[in-house]
């Protein structure tokens, strides 16, 4: 059974894309067959794997706006056991194009339902807003993974997301479960970071992953090379953290 995990947080810059690319790479390294889907018009995930979002003919936009396009036809291999549905700037227009479509929030879900791609896990990266693209991801997924930057404003983004989940549960996808919350961009020695983690622990209890992603230069530099951290610096502490997180995700199933 393919796990479909959507990574979302209403606030930007909390590490959604970094989490998707590196968690995907870590899961693939663990032997899982992983499909990454970039629903963000900024296409940082796509660019982070060295692809030019402006030069791709088939992307997530194609998948959402055209009927009868198969998932397999838009895949790009980006590593062993790891493939990507690239994003493109056209996704910004998808919201307008799908405005009158009766199945506008079910487009991605339908694509995944009829897909025969033998994936163990699908990871969906969403834009930092609760628009049609993010809702498509939330409706298509079975599990929600929420990265929270260890800062107060990022905590506020969680509330906006959870407000939307009420609507998603009521109208579109009652099966969506919370896979967990990941504290990201943790700054060692910062009282504020530690307090945020404590608050996440208090609110989400066992749903907060033990692994904390620290704010490291290695993570920021990896996309420049077109590789995830696990390939760019496989022995780094950041790579080890993502491997531990992947283990937790696998056991959280």
């Amino acid at each position: 059974m393919t796990r479909v995990i959507v990574v979302a947080n209403q606030k930007g810059g909390v590490g959604k894309t970094t989490l998707v690319s590196n968690l995907g790479a870590a899961l693939a390294e663990a032997g899982q067959k992983v499909v990454l889907i970039d629903l963000d018009p900024q296409s940082a995930l796509t660019a982070g794997f060295g692809l030019d979002p402006y030069a791709l003919s088939r992307t997530a936009y194609t998948l959402l706006t055209r009927d009868n396009v198969s998932l397999a036809s838009v895949l790009r291999p980006v590593g062993d056991n790891l493939v990507l549905v690239p994003g493109s700037v056209d996704l910004a227009a998808a919201e307008y194009q799908l405005a009158d479509a009766p199945d506008q929030v079910f487009r991605l879900r339908n694509v995944l339902a009829r897909s025969r791609v033998p994936a163990d896990c699908v990871l969906i990266d969403t834009p930092p807003s609760i628009g049609l693209l993010t809702v498509n991801g939330l409706v298509a997924a079975g599990e929600l993974l929420v990265p929270v930057q260890c800062q107060y404003l990022a905590m506020r983004g969680v509330r906006g997301l959870l407000e939307s989940i009420w609507l998603i549960h009521e109208r579109f996808n009652p099966e969506l479960n919370l896979l967990g919350v990941v504290a990201t961009m943790y700054r060692g020695g910062s009282d504020h970071s530690r307090e945020v983690v404590d608050e996440l622990q208090a609110v989400f209890e066992h749903k907060l992953f033990d692994t904390i992603i620290e704010d490291e230069d290695t993570v920021a530099k990896a996309p420049v090379t077109g590789k995830p951290v696990l390939t760019y610096r496989p022995q780094s502490e950041a790579a080890a953290a993502f491997r531990r997180l992947a283990e937790e995700v696998l056991h959280a199933h």
Partner: protein
């Protein structure tokens, strides 16, 4: 200057900051006591916002007296569409075009159709009658011919991802299963079984050759399965023994018809007399000869059906149950063609046969036996009167 040590701290604010007013959506409906207590979101310390109404348009107007009213802005927007926005969105109004398929090199011959050779070769595939294909291979649902594009270089990453070991093993097992049923299925002729085994052997070779050949292997497996399923689902009346029985009955009916004719000469003469009273056009018509022609045509059809049944079951061993209708209709078509031959003879085209009915009967039997002869004849005659095929169709005219 003294500062509050708690200022800037998020301690104790987690729930109010992160949880919606309705609570955690992932804990809704959970059994009591299973979820952590969720305190209601509190207002920032020192400020009581409970019950504070939203600002109205009038409040905004007082706060920002120079700003245009929201209603005026709405009216303005309604009157003048945002041209800048529409210009920005215009490129997205149409979908990007798909890359064009690679064109075939000029002068290249179209690929030969890969249709399966069926066991019935009596009909010439080129024969057309009144514009209809009468080749049994061509009867049925018409589909546009699918030309497979040239294979593209497979991406090794995608092949590794999509063509899993599990998938390869599944296909291999499918081949094993199909081979097992081919060798034991009672309804499959030797030729069909051989073809299936050839296809399955080809599929095995493709699987053993390279991972990216799985699509061709799956095609071969699919075709072998289709052939098997068609044979497996054939009905009882599509079996050779039943068809043989039907032909036997038809032959007995023909013989019975001859015997009846010999004992009913008076009836036939009386019918001839009645027909002649209709007018001079019926002067030359002999109902007895017409009847005999029909029977000889039917006998020719029965003979043709017997002969083909023997050929495909015993000689070529490629009997195909899907052609059972052909066997059932062949004697009936023979009877009709026997009557048709007599009408042709009466028309004067073959007038010399009027004096020698024996040759007429031989001809009736022959067209019943080899029906495509008469179809060819009719087709050639109609071609002389019909529109010229070349240059008359919309495609060529355009």
């Amino acid at each position: 200057m003294l500062t509050n040590p708690d200022e800037g701290s998020v301690k104790g604010k987690g729930a109010e900051t992160m949880l919606p007013r309705r609570g955690d959506p992932f804990r809704a409906g959970a059994p009591a006591g299973s979820a952590a207590p969720v305190p209601p979101p509190a207002a920032p310390r020192g400020v009581d916002l409970s019950g504070t109404p939203d600002l109205t348009a009038d409040d905004l107007a007082k706060l920002f007296p120079d700003a245009p009213s929201p209603n005026a802005l709405a009216a303005e927007n309604a009157a003048a569409p945002d041209e800048a926005f529409e210009a920005t969105m215009a490129p997205y109004a149409t979908l990007p075009a798909e890359p064009a398929a690679p064109a075939a090199p000029p002068g290249a011959a179209p690929p030969a159709p890969q249709g399966r050779q069926t066991g019935n070769n009596m009909y010439d595939p080129d024969i057309q009658w009144l514009g209809l294909q009468i080749n049994p291979d061509e009867i049925g649902i018409k589909t546009t011919e699918f030309v497979r594009p040239d294979a593209v270089q497979a991406d090794t990453g995608l092949v590794a991802f999509l063509v899993t070991d599990e998938r390869l093993k599944q296909r291999w097992k499918e081949i094993d299963d199909l081979e097992a049923v081919v060798t034991t299925a009672p309804k499959i002729s030797l030729k069909v079984a051989q073809e299936m085994l050839d296809r399955l052997a080809t599929a095995r070779n493709l699987l053993l050759g390279a991972r990216d050949q799985i699509e061709d292997a799956e095609r071969q497996i699919g075709e072998a399965r289709y052939i098997y399923e068609r044979a497996r689902r054939s009905k009882w009346f599509e079996q050779p023994s039943i068809i043989f029985g039907f032909q036997l009955i038809m032959m007995l009916i023909m013989v019975g018809g001859f015997i009846w004719m010999l004992g009913a000469v008076d009836v036939l003469v009386a019918v001839d007399g009645n027909l002649r009273r209709l007018g001079p056009a019926f002067d030359t018509l002999s109902v007895a000869v017409l009847w005999a022609s029909i029977l000889w045509g039917g006998l020719g059809g029965v003979t043709g059906a017997f002969w083909n049944l023997w050929r495909h079951v015993a000689e070529k061993k490629d009997f195909d149950a899907s052609f059972s209708v052909w066997y059932y209709t062949y004697p009936l078509l023979g009877m009709m063609l026997g009557a048709f031959v007599y009408v042709v003879v009466l028309s004067g085209v073959l007038s010399f046969l009027q004096e020698t009915p024996l040759f007429l009967f031989i001809l009736a039997w022959a067209v019943g036996f080899q029906q495509n002869l008469i179809f060819k004849l009719v087709n050639n005659v109609l071609k002389r009167f019909g529109p010229d095929d070349a240059g008359d169709t919309p495609q060529t005219a355009a």
